[in-house]
């Protein structure tokens, strides 16, 4: 193949990445966009394998086959609810790869490619950002899985330590950039960067991890760009920069959907998942109900809105909720789902979960569409949701003030399925539970829903 064909193939690949990313951003074309981006990657890899004078085919082929195998198995077998973790892991791998590429290039040729300081600088930045992405992603993974406490980790002299670390990393980066890349310096830079990644993510609450993963995703793009500068390879620069920028925008969008700022996420606001403030029931009483009574209410309603939340995901009750929906629909009840943008622990969590159980996409209503419907709704069923239906958000000095909520309290009656009166992610009490028209069905979501289904069937 003549060299300019190769060059043009790379250019084509860059353009395809752009189109793919663009298409990924809109519901109707997202799958096509993903396919476009994947083919862009395929073209780039194929061109690289064909063109460059590959000498050590053995290692290369082995490594690629191994990676592809691991990737496929992970992608196929993971639970839908574990998506954020998986993306986090993949992300860490990408960042790690970029750091290793920069590192290997430094080992190989001293100052590679272009002129001194620029190349040295991009190499050390590549190592730094890549390593931060790597270790940060694994802490995020641990927090999401629960290996590491979800609560913000605080320890004495935290600030002093962080400041020290910052200064040393800055020093090491500049030192490497200036052309000093003996193995020891490089290892120190690596080590410090890994530590930085850990310390940056540890203090952030577990439930904010999706935002953290998105930010780290942006970093891993920048790390790839830096590696591109090191190797003088424009496709790395382009794809990396695209992800870097898009990731930043996406992170911002995610924060906005949660009504928070990035600084607020990074430096902790209301604690992590672990923080369970005791329910301050005071002298208020709740009305309890059971599956039998609930089933009657549902079966004879004309319209029912189901509000799923984090508890649905925890209980893995998506199939049960689908079954109940089908039974009610068979009886002529109009059933829809109200999806709050930040219900669950990742954006789109509820959509993904319900889609897994084959709940038709059309039944899922956005917050803005469903809120005007509540006053006309007979029964609202809140399944493992808490903060997203907390009327305190309308009060000015609550922890979740200003967060838009689903107005379930305006429905004729409300059935709340959860295991206790304990609070949700924000750690605050929920006055909804004490309302006149609210009934509590204390149980695990999966059990409660299958009991409800059984009772409805028997009616």
């Amino acid at each position: 193949m003549p060299p300019y064909v190769m060059d043009l193939a790379y250019v084509l690949s860059a353009a395809l990445f752009v189109f793919g990313l663009k298409k990924l951003g809109s519901p109707a074309t997202a799958r096509f966009g993903n396919a476009l981006a994947a083919s862009a990657m395929l073209i780039a890899v194929a061109v690289t394998l064909l063109d460059r004078s590959i000498l050590t085919w053995g290692t290369l082929a082995g490594a690629m086959v191994l990676g592809a195998l691991i990737g496929t198995v992970l992608a196929r077998t993971v639970q839908m609810t574990s998506m954020p973790e998986l993306v986090g892991v993949f992300n860490g791998f990408g960042g790690g790869a970029s750091a290793l590429v920069a590192l290997a290039e430094l080992f190989r040729v001293g100052v590679p490619g272009a002129t001194g300081i620029a190349a040295g600088g991009s190499a050390s930045i590549g190592v730094l950002v890549g390593a931060v992405t790597f270790s940060g992603s694994f802490i995020a993974f641990g927090k999401l899985r629960g290996f590491i406490t979800g609560a913000p980790v605080v320890y004495p002299f935290q600030r002093t330590l962080n400041a020290l670390l910052f200064v040393s990393i800055l020093g090491a980066t500049v030192w490497v950039a200036l052309g000093n890349h003996d193995p020891t310096t490089l290892l120190i830079l690596c080590g410090l960067s890994l530590l930085l990644g850990v310390l940056l993510v540890l203090p952030i609450g577990g439930a904010d991890m999706p935002v953290v993963v998105s930010l780290l995703n942006s970093y891993s793009g920048l790390a790839a760009s830096a590696a591109g500068f090191v190797l003088g390879n424009p496709i790395l620069i382009i794809a990396g920069a695209l992800v870097g920028a898009a990731g930043l925008i996406l992170t911002n969008l995610m924060c906005r959907a949660m009504n928070r700022s990035l600084t607020n996420v990074a430096f902790g606001a209301f604690g992590g998942t672990g923080v369970a403030v005791a329910a301050d029931a005071g002298d208020r009483t709740v009305r309890r109900t059971n599956a039998e009574e609930g089933a009657m209410l549902l079966a004879y309603a004309s319209s029912v809105v189901i509000v799923p939340g984090y508890g649905l995901a925890v209980a893995q009750a998506q199939h049960e909720v689908k079954k109940l929906t089908d039974l009610l629909k068979a009886r002529g009840v109009k059933v829809t789902f109200a999806i709050h943008p930040v219900a669950g622990r990742m954006p789109g969590h509820m959509n993904v979960l319900l889609a897994e159980a084959d709940v038709p996409y059309d039944l899922l209503l956005d917050m803005d569409d469903v809120n005007p419907e509540f006053p006309r709704t007979d029964v609202a069923v809140v399944v493992g949701a808490n903060d997203v239906v907390n009327p305190l958000a309308r009060e000015e000095n609550s922890a979740i003030a200003g967060m838009p909520i689903l107005d379930v309290d305006r429905a004729r009656s409300v059935i709340v399925i959860k295991r206790s009166l304990s609070p949700g992610f924000a750690g605050i009490d929920n006055p909804l539970f004490y309302n006149e028209n609210s009934m509590m069905l204390f149980a695990d979501a999966k059990e409660a829903l299958s009991e409800l289904a059984k009772e409805v069937k028997e009616l």
């Binding site: 990445f17 990313l21 951003g25 799958r31 993903n34 994947a38 862009a40 990657m41 460059r52 590959i54 290692t59 290369l60 490594a63 990676g67 592809a68 990737g71 992970l74 992608a75 196929r76 993971v78 998506m83 954020p84 993306v87 993949f90 791998f93 290793l100 590429v101 290997a104 290039e105 080992f107 190989r108 040729v109 002129t115 620029a118 999706p210 998105s214 995703n217 891993s220 790839a224 090191v230 190797l231 003088g232 424009p234 496709i235 790395l236 620069i237 382009i238 794809a239 920069a241 992800v243 920028a245 898009a246 996406l250 954006p347 789109g348 969590h349 993904v352 038709p360 996409y361 059309d362």
Partner: protein
């Protein structure tokens, strides 16, 4: 014009494209988009291939080999998992 400065142009323009391309994405798509972008950032696979394949000594091969494994996992897994997520958003 050095190659480096042209690289900088490419970088700045690509960033601008990235900013423009993502504007209003509905929350439903945040996770798949994140995951798709993440797969794209596995582009360092190209770098890893170049470093590993070029036979630049033991260290380069070892580090490069690990990088190839990691990046391939990111790329293959990333695109597959994104597709799996997106397949779920079907309309009745």
């Amino acid at each position: 014009m050095g190659e480096w400065i042209l690289g900088l142009y490419v970088f700045v323009l690509a960033m601008l494209v990235g900013f423009e391309v993502i504007t209003k994405v509905p929350p439903t798509l945040h996770t798949p988009l994140m995951s798709g972008a993440n797969a794209i950032s596995g582009i360092s696979l190209i770098g890893a291939i170049l470093v590993t394949g070029s036979d630049g000594g033991q260290w380069a091969t070892i580090l490069g080999g690990i990088a190839v494994v990691l990046a391939t996992v990111n790329v293959v897994g990333g695109f597959l998992v994104t597709d799996r997520m997106l397949r779920m958003f079907r309309r009745d």
